[in-house]
């Protein structure tokens, strides 16, 4: 099975979700800012283009990916459905997973500052704090 975590216009939320799924981040304990900043370094080093899956690892039979569809989630879903319809994908299960989570302002503003580049350090700190706030809800949604 291939499992693709995504969240509209972002790569950080699906990445963190994937790492929790793989057990690389502890689901019982909120990670420290330092741990999250280590994740942010991975994002900085390797952020794939839109529509390119980022392989995170394998757990059991599931291959875990994070993917960014930008703001065209429906279009991406239709493209994948079209590939299935044309029988161009393998028969194994391809699952797209997203989260109905409201992002907090620290996460949003931190991400913008970080991506902007000029206030990258402050942006990452703010982002990490926002991710700490979001973490319990993300774990809860993943467990469901």
């Amino acid at each position: 099975m291939k499992l693709f975590y995504f969240y509209p216009k972002r790569m950080d939320v699906p990445l963190i979700a994937g790492l929790i799924h793989l057990g690389k981040l502890n689901c019982e304990k909120i990670p420290s800012v330092e741990e999250l900043l280590a994740v942010s370094r991975a994002v900085a080093q390797h952020t794939p283009a839109l529509g390119v899956p980022w392989y995170l690892g394998k757990k059991g039979v599931a291959e875990i990916y994070a993917i960014n569809f930008g703001n065209s989630v429906e279009l991406a879903k239709q493209a994948i459905a079209g590939l299935h319809g044309a029988k161009l994908l393998s028969n194994e299960e391809w699952q797209l997973v997203t989260f109905k989570l409201k992002l907090n302002w620290s996460l949003k503003i931190g991400w913008v500052l970080w991506q902007w580049g000029k206030l990258e350090v402050q942006g990452k700190q703010l982002w990490a704090k926002g991710m700490q706030q979001l973490y319990p809800s993300l774990v809860k949604v993943l467990k469901e």
């Binding site: 839109l50 529509g51 930008g70 279009l75 991406a76 239709q78």
Partner: protein, 158 residues
């Protein structure tokens, strides 16, 4: 090889270009405006079809010809298709994506929007057909470039 002609809606430029490629419509002279209604998938696709590969046939060299609408998101959709095919064990290099948007003109945009988005087929279809007629030499040029790149100069210049 799978050759995928794509444009904004997959309803006018790409079906016409694919029809030229498949020799369902002559590249030797301008078609009559009424000929467009005989082109498979012409003025058919809606936004529900965006992103989906639409198979039209096989050319004389065995290439599979597809059309696709992809709104403004050509890089997203082409990346996605290539990457997912790769994950399935297929070869993404077998997929050749050809953008037909450079042929667009104002009549195609207004006619296409009226017919496909607003559902005003009675108004949009004649406009978009006229626009496609005006764009026809450009569409033939796109196909000719493909043939040249495939090293098979089958199409004579119009």
């Amino acid at each position: 090889m799978k050759i995928i002609y794509h444009c904004f809606g997959g309803a006018h430029a790409s079906p016409t270009t694919a029809a030229i490629h498949l020799k369902l419509i002559s590249n030797q002279h301008l078609p009559a405006i009424t000929d467009f209604k005989n082109i498979s998938k012409f003025d058919v696709a809606t936004s529900q079809d965006h992103g989906k590969l639409n198979y039209l046939g096989v050319d004389h060299l065995g290439n599979e010809i597809y059309i696709m609408g992809r709104a403004h998101q050509a890089p997203l959709v082409t990346n996605l298709i290539k990457e997912f095919v790769k994950l399935s064990g297929g070869n993404p290099d077998d997929y050749c994506f050809i953008n037909c948007c450079q042929s667009f003109n104002l009549l195609m945009v207004i006619g296409g929007f009226s017919s496909r988005r607003l559902g005003l087929v009675w108004l949009g279809r004649p406009l978009v057909s006229l626009g496609t007629l005006l764009a026809f030499p450009k569409l033939v040029g796109i196909v000719q470039k493909i043939w040249i790149s495939f090293n098979t100069p089958h199409l004579t210049k119009s």
